[in-house]
């Protein structure tokens, strides 16, 4: 049907072999130290989980959509499949086992104002590919709901052409019975911009991993995210941003609220390659532990091979500031309300990173909904 077909099958066979050889990630893999996937899932279950269903509501004009299951995407799109970013074992599994998925293409120069919303609610493996051509722009809302148990394994690839701009909001509702894995590979050309927000309300084991390549000058990546976890929730965000070219910029701002027995994980690695002078990178990760048995693990990592760079990271873990709490109470605010107020204030700047007003409001709505669960368990 089209020229990419045989190579796609070859790539899938390669992915399957790679997954077989490397097997399930577990806590002895340094990168999976805080999310022991093998303890909750075996390789057979990954293979058996099949393909996850997806749904795009109301495609805005100008965006092209292809069903990866139908193999109807042009070569232009298909050549990116399985080719962007690192090839970690679970991403290879999603390529090997998913018989379907969605590819989006925004042609050159098209700026799409209306967000595209992608819903995934079933279990299984699925692939998402987004190709934004030169000077195009798009807002993509990726919404994960449903808690059918077992595994949802998503492999995402994003190719951003020169000056292309993608705003990506990933929303994951609480799914205490499910295991949700997602790997996002992003390749950016000159002046491209990837903005992403990750609002995750926890699963039995939830891992969102990013590998972003700032391949040409002036490419930018701005990541932000919030977790509000109650009881048994787990949320792991692991990012690796590579400043391949000089004068590239990246920022990261993650805020995590962990209550009950939950576990919030952030591992952020920045690599500045040799010669990538003028790179500017900032990372902030903060966690608020509310539950007496909650845990936060933060690992902001810098790997720098160029001297003319500005790199900084900050991380903090703590409880609500007793002085602020006292201040509010002394002004007649009841304790429960004061605590809510302070938690909202803690999350505020991370949520504010979402540019689209509607999406920002929906994330706030979910935060409000999740907060009582996180706060409920007293220390």
């Amino acid at each position: 049907m089209n020229a990419a077909l045989p190579s796609r099958e070859a790539r899938r066979a390669e992915a399957l072999e790679s997954f077989r050889v490397r097997g399930m990630p577990h806590r002895r893999f340094e990168h999976w130290k805080y999310s022991d996937l093998r303890a909750v899932l075996d390789a057979g279950q990954v293979a058996q989980s099949g393909t996850a269903a997806w749904q795009v509501e109301k495609l805005p004009e100008g965006v092209e959509l292809f069903d990866l299951g139908k193999l109807d995407a042009p070569e232009l799109v298909m050549r990116n499949l399985g080719a962007i970013g690192a090839k970690p074992t679970m991403k290879e599994a999603s390529l090997a086992f998913a018989d379907g998925g969605v590819a989006l293409r925004v042609p050159r120069g098209r700026k799409i104002a209306e967000p595209v919303t992608l819903h995934i609610s079933s279990t299984g493996n699925v692939r998402l590919l987004a190709v934004l051509e030169e000077e195009s722009s798009l807002t993509l809302m990726e919404s994960h709901t449903g808690d059918a148990g077992l595994l949802r394994n998503v492999g995402v690839e994003i190719a951003l052409g020169t000056q292309a701009r993608l705003s990506h909001v990933r929303f994951a509702a609480s799914a205490p019975k499910s295991i949700t894995i997602e790997h996002i590979g992003v390749a950016e050309a000159r002046g491209a911009q990837y903005r992403a927000h990750f609002a995750n309300f926890g699963s039995r084991l939830s891992r969102t991993e990013l590998h972003i390549l700032l391949q040409e000058e002036d490419a930018e990546a701005h990541l932000s995210g919030v977790n509000v976890l109650g009881d048994e929730g787990h949320a792991d965000l692991t990012s690796h941003i590579e400043h391949v070219a000089g004068n590239t910029r990246s920022t990261q701002l993650f805020k995590k609220v962990a209550g009950g027995h939950s576990r919030a994980v952030y591992q952020g690695k920045i690599t500045v390659r040799e010669g990538a002078n003028g790179s500017d990178s900032r990372q902030t990760a903060k966690a608020l532990l509310l539950g007496g048995r909650a845990e936060a693990d933060l690992k902001p990592e810098l790997v720098i091979f160029a001297d003319d760079v500005k790199c900084a990271h900050g991380a903090a873990v703590g409880d609500l500031d007793p002085e602020s709490l006292f201040y509010l109470r002394s002004r007649g605010v009841p304790e429960a309300e004061a605590r809510h107020m302070l938690i909202r204030a803690f999350l505020e700047d991370a949520v504010a990173e979402i540019e689209n007003e509607e999406l920002r409001a929906s994330v706030w709505h979910a935060v409000e909904h999740a907060l009582p669960h996180a706060v409920r368990v007293s220390p």
């Binding site: 340094e30 040799e274 010669g275 002078n277 966690a287 532990l289 509310l290 539950g291 007496g292 048995r293 909650a294 845990e295 936060a296 693990d297 933060l298 690992k299 902001p300 990592e301 810098l302 790997v303 720098i304 091979f305 160029a306 001297d307 003319d308 760079v309 500005k310 790199c311 900084a312 990271h313 900050g314 991380a315 903090a316 873990v317 703590g318 409880d319 220390p379």
Partner: protein, 483 residues
């Protein structure tokens, strides 16, 4: 712009600056080459050790034989052939010397070249030196004073002979025999080291130092140090490693264990300047060291300060286990890597007790083609109510061919704990250099000034005698004008 170029040139010009790399020709006594149970038995017999010590060593050797060398650190080196090395080497000096005149004159010459003549060292007020060469004049000067206070300060081999109960009680309780590959190797073949015991309530009357012993004895490749500070005591211990290496073997795997009982305080300072190899990365010491302190009693405190300028490869994470309630751990570090040096160093702060506090200040400087990594862990366990940690790790890059890396792990399992971490990476700011130059300060001085300013917080923690040396070392390592 020329400023940066000049700096690079200066850094490159540092090639032959390691003035301690000479070899003194003294007759040596060695164990047969290679590592086997026989080597371990040979070492133990040489030391005249009791049965239990030999068993301990053999147990470690058997464990080690089954272990694999770790490879997670960001350091690269050709595979070490552990069978192609000597595990015991001592100058042939069987009889005790009664005075300096009897010491091999060549050795005295070595001291002179190092700039620490014995006579001068003797007068260095307040520094007691554990001199293995038993030059009565030095050793006894301070021994009397230490004895009076009840402080035991002696070579490890002597402690095994004279204080076996104490050694058995504490040895391997902070760094277990099979803790890691290099520590296990050390447990099997350690040749000597230092033993310190400070009794209850005693404030050690002087700074203890191993400056001499490591310089002179040449047993220094596998030292084992054990320091015990009993309830309410205080001790400050200095470890200087400006040493000539007379061995073919370039591996140095030491273990240091500190035990602080209730209310005790141990301050451990290191200035490490082993031979770093030449400017092409040839030669140099592999410094694979395990250092750990255990704040075992409530209200105890352990403070590590290190200035790491030497060694081809440094693999070292002085850590604190904050076991007792209200204990304090500190880590202050300067790591300078130039040419092809590789440093992977940092700390671990394990908060177990209530109200435990820790502070980490790390300054890494990379130049030439060096790789410098800070790797650290702050771990708060569920029972560590109100634990506090503050970490700051800054990296400075000089030149575009070097690397500076930061790998901090932060793990909190107690909601009342508060942990803060900050890190920055930058190069020497052109505007700062310009400011200095514009006011008539030379390029050399300006770089030294800025780098010393960058390290200031750590340098301040060093005892006086070392602070001077450390500042000089910072200059030698980077500037090219000193030394």
């Amino acid at each position: 712009m020329s400023a940066a170029a000049d700096t690079k040139e200066q850094v490159a010009a540092l090639g032959e600056k390691y003035k301690y790399g000479f070899v003194t020709d003294i007759e040596m006594e060695r164990a047969p080459k290679g590592l086997s149970e026989d080597t371990v038995k040979f070492i133990s017999a040489k030391k005249g050790e009791p049965e239990w010590m030999l068993d301990w060593r053999l147990g470690a050797f058997r464990r080690w034989s089954e272990m694999t060398e770790p490879n997670w650190a960001r350091v690269h080196y050709p595979k070490i052939d552990y069978q192609d090395a000597y595990y015991y080497a001592a100058p042939k000096a069987p009889e005790k010397k009664l005075s300096l005149d009897e010491v091999d004159p060549k050795l005295l010459e070595t001291y002179a070249k190092l700039g620490i003549p014995l006579s001068e060292q003797k007068m260095l007020a307040g520094v007691a030196v554990d001199a293995v060469f038993d030059s009565v004049s030095v050793a006894t000067t301070f021994k009397a004073k230490l004895n009076e206070a009840g402080v035991i300060f002696c070579p490890m081999s002597e402690a095994i002979r004279d204080y076996p109960d104490m050694v058995r009680k504490y040895l391997g309780t902070v760094v277990p025999v099979s803790d890691n590959f290099f520590a296990t190797l050390n447990s099997a073949v350690f040749s000597d080291g230092t033993f310190v015991y400070v009794p209850k309530g005693v404030r050690c009357p002087m700074e203890l130092s191993t400056y001499f012993r490591i310089n002179a004895s040449n047993t220094g490749q596998f030292e084992r140090t054990l320091i015990i500070a009993d309830e309410g005591s205080y001790v400050s211990y200095l470890e200087g490693c400006t040493a000539p290496m007379r061995d073919e073997n370039q591996l140095h795997a030491a273990v240091v264990e500190l035990v602080a009982l209730e209310g005790a305080e141990i301050k451990y300072s290191t200035v490490q300047n082993w031979y770093p190899g030449d400017e092409n990365g040839k030669g140099g010491i592999y410094n694979f060291v395990t250092k750990r302190g255990d704040c075992r009693g409530a209200r105890s405190k352990i403070s590590w300060t290190q200035v790491e300028t030497g060694s081809a490869i440094t693999w070292k994470y002085p850590s604190c286990i904050l076991r007792g309630d209200d204990t304090v751990g500190e880590f202050y570090s300067i790591a300078i890597a130039n040419h092809y040096q590789q440093a992977d160093t940092g700390t671990k702060m394990i908060h177990l007790g209530k109200n435990t506090r820790s502070r980490i200040i790390s300054k890494g400087i990379s130049a030439g083609k060096a790789q410098n990594t800070y790797r650290g862990l702050v771990s708060v366990h569920p029972k560590a109510v109100n634990a506090r940690n503050y970490t700051q790790c800054d990296s400075l890059l000089i030149g575009g061919k070097c690397g500076a890396h930061t790998v901090p792990y932060i793990e909190s399992r107690n909601s009342s704990a508060r942990i803060e971490h900050e890190a920055t990476t930058s190069k020497i700011a052109e505007d700062q250099l310009f400011y200095c130059l514009q006011r008539g300060i030379s390029q050399d001085e300006a770089v030294s000034l800025i780098v010393n300013g960058f390290c200031r917080e750590v340098l301040q923690q060093l005892p006086m005698e070392f602070a001077v040396e450390a500042q000089k070392l910072v200059g030698i390592s980077l500037e090219g004008s000193v030394g």
